[in-house]
């Protein structure tokens, strides 16, 4: 779609064709057709959004698309157009402030992007033109240019590798900036190309740009001296991507195929869809309520105004006549403008500043996650990463956790444990072998010899050594000689020793998947060492210290659908062999069946032990067979269309009729503290689902290992195996099983109380549910719609009653499907996905909160996540401490904001009843404007950044505290109603308290009287002090910042009022507040009424705080005990006890 839109954007008919033709070096060719230089975009990268010219309109347009900003704009416009009580400045200034700050922020970000773009675009690159090397600015590279890149430089555009300084026509590349994989990847030159690029005349035909980094199809036509052009296929291994870096290679030359915004990197640069948090939804709901309050207030006032005016003499008393214009205005128009005026007068009830404060809270608050040193992992030297700050509070609301297994629950750090050859088990005992009485001194090798035939063993080990895509890391010469030293040492000693491992490991292998390395290393232990791949020849050092050479003919790459990979090699003796390794389910059907049974037992046993198993098979290829396969493969690789499918077909055809050699078991160790983390998360009321592509047995064992399943957990299995048990149609059986499980887990179980899986602590029978990919697809896509819905419901209900759910053999898309299903089920629970690999991206994007682990499988998950942490164990603190606190903070922030604006505006509303509904503002314009910006904004911001109602240690120790704020507990309607009533109460107290005082407006001891602005100022003073002190009452954690901000705000208010009233302001038409504040303070009665009203307003609050405590003495007491202990242990001051 992207491509299509891109094409449409760029226009031009030739762009709609599926291929593009590139003339290398812009040469014309002896081709019949006329040479039309096709137009491609230049190599300028534009990641910036704005230019100097369009910044203002574009940015403003985008900002006013936000509903809140638009609302405020409308209010502002109404103020400008209609004669309203408050000047446009009161709402214009805050809006202007907000818009400007946002614009500056976005402008700055864009400037940074411009700068980065410029840096990229203006960097010089060497281009070969007419045989001469010229320097060009990067942005001037055209498609077809031959570009030279030297070591450690990044590629300026997508290039087809033509020439490398290395002899074997390869070059090494890291794509760390593209997908985060820091290993070296090998890329190949186009085979059989002339050394002299000047005389090369060729065209490249390739597909139009597309964002997939790992896909590229193309064809190169090479014209030589009027011969028929030779054709070479081009694949991703020939393509050097912009953004990648050249390594280990002096220089390369390549021809630009995609430039600028058409490079794969640029195409991959796109924003993610925005996720909205539950709190934001609550805010919008509350906003609607307040909007209703606002409108009804305005309606009430308008109606009453006209009722009141109907009485003779009220509308236009002699002392207050209307202007001619007013008299002439149509009655209904007047009503309407009156309504608008009231809206404007009361519009402060929905403050602009709330949005600013919420944004600031989120933005600043998220720093605490990045700053947290507990998230710092010394191994990768990185801490947590926050990609979006919009979801901080969502971390405190998670109900379902979907976790990947490999790399997330487990370390993805593979270790070869054992293998099985022809049904005989070989276990590596490692360093302890000498000490172990049961082991023979020369350990595994001897055992090996005891059991299977030597020939089979060696074949198996050779298979392990050959069937992979591992590279030997080439380091400096010194390191190489060290490696040789090490080999010498091996030569000297008959037995492999653990002590020798480290230097060998230092030599290092590089592979895309860690279990390949584990296998190669495993084979090394048994005496077969892989020495490396040099110009299509694989070298192996065998047990007899001879070097064996194999010519690598083909690699049939691994893919998740086939779940296996193969290599075709030719030995010195001329035999052509195919070695294949893969998952048992993908190998067993392709080997001779009589061999399977012996191995299957081992494989299954290993799987239940939590090991990852792979089966190894081989096959002799006869000359004809090979020739046929070779031709098939070459043909498929040259295909421009459907290359994948064609290759797959050939692969499947070749990988048949193999002989099973054996199986390997590799341990995937659990992540640090995986079990503790899982326990804590379950204790916090979250349900943990494991979604993995792995096989059931392995996944199950991981679940057992990390405590998700326990011994007494009854497992409910819905897998292909259980479905096929009855021998009936799968769907019937599915129905039966689902109903059975439903009866067991849902109907017979006692109703689950709020707080969910805490039930396990009370000795209730708990269930674990296991489902696999194929079964899930039956559940989701049953033949009939009604059945599908029924199954889905049953499935969800069962799952909701299980303590843990395991979904295995999931395709990435299925993972996302499950997340989506849970997300959309009744009650729409908050979901969190955590994963580390590219296969988890879909579920990370789908869930409410996506967490990436900075693991070994590249950076894709991290890039697509909302938050990234180095280890699984960090999830505990992220949710239980940070999430909980963020939620409490922002929930309080939201409630408080609505409250303080309600009691701000209510007196102004009530005043209308006493001023003839004339839209007379109670407060001065300065107060109206500053209330939310200056007087009351900082304390709540500080609160929402620093509050710890329960200290972090205690939150971490008591996971169940998390469930206390579950389900948006602090933003429920009851609480909203409470806050609203509190606001109404305060508003009434403020207004009527002063109203009664003004029964006699002679409030000074000199008998002088106070006027309307004094009235408003007294109300406003009470208001500012009350709402600030109310927050002070709610603050449980007073850092110096809170002190500073709370007392500072009050002091600022007093100072400002003096200042504002102390000067005749020349720009003001009316000097309303001149000395009003000072005069007010000179009146004892005013002081007394202010104190009285503040205390009266806060009295119920204090009472509530005191009386509420006995309800939860347990938690408080516990925390006190706990604090006592911790403070005794370490005299730190962060959690002091206030006694």
């Amino acid at each position: 779609m992207l491509r299509r839109s891109l094409n449409r954007l760029l226009g031009g008919d030739e762009r709609r064709v599926d291929n593009r033709t590139i003339y290398i070096g812009h040469q014309s060719f002896p081709v019949n057709e006329a040479f039309i230089p096709p137009k491609f975009c230049d190599n300028r990268i534009v990641s910036s959004k704005y230019t100097v010219w369009n910044f203002l309109p574009k940015n403003l347009f985008e900002q006013f698309r936000r509903i809140a900003n638009f609302y405020f704009l409308i209010i502002f416009l109404v103020q400008v157009i209609v004669d309203t009580p408050t000047s446009p400045v009161t709402s214009g200034l805050p809006l202007f402030f907000v818009i400007t700050v946002t614009a500056i922020k976005q402008g700055y970000e864009d400037w940074l992007r411009h700068k980065a773009d410029r840096e990229v675009n203006k960097s010089t690159v060497k281009v070969l033109e007419n045989g001469e090397e010229t320097s060009k600015e990067s942005e001037k590279i055209k498609v077809g240019d031959i570009v030279e890149v030297t070591e450690n430089d990044t590629f300026p555009c997508d290039l087809i590798l033509l020439q490398s300084s290395r002899d074997d026509g390869t070059c090494f590349v890291t794509t760390a900036s593209l997908d985060g994989e820091s290993n070296h990847k090998t890329h190949y030159t186009v085979p059989d190309i002339e050394r002299d690029l000047q005389s090369l005349s060729a065209t490249i035909e390739c597909e139009q740009p597309q964002p997939d980094l790992y896909k590229f199809n193309g064809r190169m036509h090479i014209y030589k001296n009027d011969q028929e052009p030779t054709v070479r296929s081009l694949g991703p291994e020939n393509l050097l991507l912009k953004g990648a870096t050249l390594k280990n290679t002096q220089k390369i030359c390549g021809v630009a195929v995609y430039t600028g915004m058409e490079t794969k990197m640029a195409l991959n640069y796109q924003g993610k869809s925005q996720k909205r948090s539950v709190v934001e939804k609550s805010i919008n709901a509350f906003l609607l309520v307040y909007l209703c309050i606002l409108v009804s207030k305005a309606l009430v006032c308008t109606t009453l105004k006209y009722v009141w005016q109907n009485k003779p003499g009220q509308d236009e008393p002699w002392y207050n006549e209307k202007t001619q214009k007013e008299k002439d205005t149509n009655l209904y128009l007047k009503m309407f403008t009156d309504f608008l005026s009231f809206m404007v007068l009361f519009n402060f009830i929905i403050p602009v500043s709330m949005y600013v404060t919420v944004e600031m809270q989120k933005f600043l608050g998220s720093f605490f996650i990045t700053w947290d040193k507990d998230f710092f992992d010394p191994e990768i030297q990185e801490g947590a990463l926050v990609n979006t700050s919009d979801l901080n509070e969502e971390l405190g609301q998670v109900e379902y956790i979907f976790t990947d297994k490999t790399g997330t629950l487990t370390q993805n750090n593979m270790e070869f444990i054992e293998c099985c050859i022809d049904g005989f088990q070989y276990k590596h005992r490692g360093a302890c072998s000498e000490l172990d009485g049961f082991c023979v001194t020369d350990g595994p090798v001897n055992k090996l010899q005891q059991k299977a035939g030597r020939e089979r063993e060696e074949l198996f080990l050779r298979a392990l050594c050959l069937c992979h895509t591992v590279q030997v890391k080439e380091s400096t010469e010194q390191a190489r000689s060290q490696g040789e030293d090490c080999i010498d040492q091996v030569d000297g000693l008959p037995v492999e020793d653990e002590a020798l491992q480290p230097p060998q490991e230092e030599r290092g292998f590089i592979a895309s998947s860690p279990d390949e390395i584990a296998l190669v290393k495993g084979a090394m232990r048994y005496g077969f060492t892989f020495l490396g791949l040099e110009s299509k020849t694989m070298k192996i050092l065998n047990r007899n210290k001879d070097v064996e050479m194999y010519e690598l003919l083909h690699v049939l790459n691994f893919d998740p659908v086939r779940r296996r990979m193969s290599v075709i090699v030719r030995s010195r003796s001329g035999d052509t062999l195919l070695f294949c390794k893969g998952a048992d389910s993908s190998i067993f059907p392709r080997v001779r069946q009589e061999e399977v049974e012996r191995i299957r037992m081992h494989v299954e046993r290993n799987a239940t032990d939590g090991y990852r198993t792979l089966c190894v098979a081989y096959k002799h290829l006869s000359e004809e067979e090979y020739a046929q396969a070779d031709e098939g493969l070459r043909e498929a690789r040259l295909a421009l269309q459907d290359r994948e499918e064609k290759l797959m077909a050939v692969y499947n055809q070749v990988e048949t009729g193999m002989n099973l050699l054996g199986a390997t078991a590799v341990e995937d160790r659990l992540q640090e503290e995986a079990a503790e983390t899982m326990e804590a998360l379950q204790g916090a009321g979250m349900k943990v689902w494991v979604l993995t592509g792995d096989k059931m047995e392995t996944a199950k064992s991981t679940c057992y290992a990390c405590g998700l399943f326990q011994k007494r957990t009854e497992l409910l299995e819905l897998t292909v195996r259980t479905l096929e048990d009855g021998g009936r149609k799968r769907e019937d059986r599915l129905h039966e099983l689902l109903s059975e499980y439903h009866k067991k887990a849902v109907q017979d179980a006692p109703p689950v109380k709020a707080g969910g899986s805490r039930g396990r602590f009370f000795g209730k029978q708990d269930y674990g549910f296991i489902i696999d990919g194929p079964s899930l697809s039956i559940v989701l896509s049953s033949s009939s719609e009604s059945n599908s819905n029924l199954y889905k419901n049953l499935f969800l209900q069962i799952c909701q009653n299980c303590t843990a759910v395991l979904c295995c053999r999931m395709a990435p898309l299925q993972k996302a499907q499950i997340v989506k299903m849970v997300k959309n089920c009744k009650g729409s629970p908050i979901t969190l996905s955590i994963g580390d690999g590219a296969n988890d991206v879909s579920m990370i994007l789908e869930a409410h909160v996506g967490i990436g682990i900075k693991g070994k499988e590249g950076r894709q998950a991290v890039r697509n996540s909302d938050y990234a942490i180095p280890k699984l164990k960090h999830l505990k603190k992220l949710l239980l401490a940070h999430g909980h606190l963020y939620y409490v903070r922002i929930a309080h922030l939201v409630q408080y904001f609505f409250y303080k604006n309600l009691c701000f505006i209510l007196p102004q509303f009530l005043y209308q009843f006493f001023c003839g509904y004339s839209q007379q503002p109670l407060y001065d314009a300065a107060y109206l404007t500053m209330y939310n910006i200056c007087f009351t904004s900082m304390p709540i911001l500080a609160y929402s950044l620093f509050e710890q109602h329960i200290c972090i240690e205690f939150l971490l120790k008591n996971a169940n505290l998390y469930s206390e704020v579950a389900k948006n507990a602090m933003l429920r309607w009851e609480l909203f109603l409470y806050w609203t009533l509190l606001g109404v109460f305060h508003g009434l107290v403020f207004f009527f308290g002063v109203r009664f005082l003004f029964g006699n407006p002679a409030l000074q001891d000199n008998g002088q009287v106070f006027g309307n602005w004094s009235y408003g100022t007294i109300v406003f003073t009470v208001l500012v002090f009350t709402v600030t002190l109310k927050l002070a009452l709610d603050t449980r954690h007073w850092t110096w910042i809170n002190h500073f901000v709370i007392w500072g705000s009050l002091a600022f208010y007093v100072f400002f009022s003096f200042f504002w009233g102390g000067i005749i302001w020349p720009f003001q038409k009316h000097q309303r507040l001149y000395f009003v504040f000072a005069n007010m303070l000179s009146s004892v009665s005013a002081w007394l009424v202010i104190i009285l009203l503040i205390l009266l307003s806060l009295l119920p609050e204090i009472l509530l705080v005191v009386l509420r405590k006995p309800r939860g003495p347990y938690a408080r007491k516990l925390s006190e005990d706990d604090l006592l202990q911790s403070s005794r242990l370490q005299p730190s001051h962060h959690c002091p006890i206030s006694t």
């Binding site: 002699w318 002392y319 207050n320 006549e321 720093f367 700053w371 947290d372 040193k373 710092f376 030297q381 001023c915 003839g916 004339s918 839209q919 007379q920 503002p921 710890q948 109203r995 005082l997 029964g999 006699n1000 407006p1001 002679a1002 409030l1003 008998g1007 002088q1008 009287v1009 309307n1012 602005w1013 009235y1015 954690h1037 110096w1040 005749i1064 003001q1068 038409k1069 009316h1070 000097q1071 001149y1074 000072a1078 004892v1084 009665s1085 007394l1088 009285l1092 205390l1095 009266l1096 009295l1099 204090i1102 005191v1106 009386l1107 405590k1109 006995p1110 003495p1113 408080r1116 007491k1117 001051h1133 962060h1134 002091p1136 006890i1137 206030s1138 006694t1139």
Partner: protein, 339 residues
């Protein structure tokens, strides 16, 4: 693998701030603090309340309506006929000494000085003595900006135009003789209004500044002729004008008219019969308003105000009662747990 101990640039700072470990005071409102606190606050409030209540009780107030809607009233003739310079009188009796200094207020009801249209209709620059605004008053003053001939009105606007223009004279009737009670017209307006906020244009004589302007439509005398007896009490600095220009907060209001601080009446109004002579000019019946006069003395808390004293007493006792309730609650539920 040897780990380098070098500090990574990405390593988060280990400061109290970044780790959310700032030293903090965590107040817990425990019974030990709250109950004594409540008792103390309650007692203090009761104390203040008693003081306020007594003070307020001791303030003498004499309030009299002189609207003249009742036929019995002497002012009835002025109220219904609408004649110019109508004079009426109001007789009243003071039984005990009305302690001085006595403050004399006039009051209006159902008069919306706080109406927005009314309140906006003034020109503070003009009142600050800015001569440019004499020639061209602010548009806010509409419809009292210029007269029918297009001449600018000074002072313009509804507030100035509607200035209260009843005048009063108080006589004590001693043995059939009427003794004039001297009124003090100084110090009835805010000091800052008189000295800073309002200014006469610095033109001598003052009258010349008002050339080419007209007086407000409703006025009988121009602003520079408001007080014949005291030339300095004229123009925008006229105290009655200043008092009127400070808008009342509520539709029923009173404004200070005069103080009785001089001569024989310095110590207050002695018991006896008094006559208040009213020059009845200000029409209020058209908008259902009423006019009244108020004699009052003031204390440190200002005029008589029972609300404050009662409110303090009520809330003070509420605090004490609540602390008692809390004490009972805690005695029942909390204390055993502490042990």
């Amino acid at each position: 693998m040897v780990k380098e101990k070098k500090k990574s640039p990405d390593r988060p700072d280990n400061t109290a701030f970044t780790q959310q470990r700032l030293p903090a005071w965590q107040p817990i409102l425990s019974a030990g603090i709250v109950i004594p606190g409540f008792v103390l606050i309650g007692l203090a409030f009761i104390g203040i309340g008693v003081g306020l209540f007594i003070t307020s009780r001791d303030i003498q107030v004499l309030e009299m309506d002189y609207t003249g809607t009742e036929a019995s009233s002497d002012c009835n003739k002025c109220a219904i006929t609408n004649t110019k310079n109508c004079m009426c009188s109001l007789d009243f009796n003071i039984s005990t000494l009305f302690k001085g200094p006595v403050f004399f207020y006039y009051g209006l009801t159902n008069y919306f000085q706080n109406h927005r249209r009314y309140g906006v209709s003034r020109d503070d620059s003009q009142l600050y003595g800015d001569l440019t605004n004499f020639k061209d008053p602010s548009t806010d003053c509409k419809p009292y900006r210029v007269d029918s001939n297009g001449k600018p009105i000074v002072p313009c606007g509804a507030v100035a135009n509607s200035m209260f223009n009843d005048t009063f004279k108080l006589y004590q009737n001693v043995n059939g003789q009427r003794n004039l009670v001297p009124f003090d017209g100084k110090g009835i307006a805010w000091w800052t209004d008189y000295n800073v906020k309002f200014r006469n244009p610095s033109v001598e004589p003052l009258k010349n500044a008002f050339n080419d302007t007209v007086k407000p439509l409703f006025w009988t005398r121009a602003v520079y002729e408001l007080d014949f007896s005291d030339p300095s009490n004229n123009g925008f600095l006229n105290q009655d004008f200043l008092v009127w220009m400070r808008r009342a907060a509520l539709p029923n209001f009173r404004k200070l008219y005069r103080r009785i601080t001089e001569g024989d009446y310095k110590e207050g109004l002695p018991a006896g019969n008094y006559t208040l002579e009213i020059s009845y000019n200000y029409p209020v019946l058209r908008f259902d308003g009423r006019k009244k006069v108020v004699f009052s003395n003031v204390s440190w808390m200002g005029g008589k105000n029972d609300f404050l004293g009662i409110a303090y007493l009520v809330i003070g006792s509420l605090c004490v009662v609540m602390s008692m309730v809390m004490l009972i609650v805690y005695a029942k539920f909390k204390f055993p747990e502490d042990n």
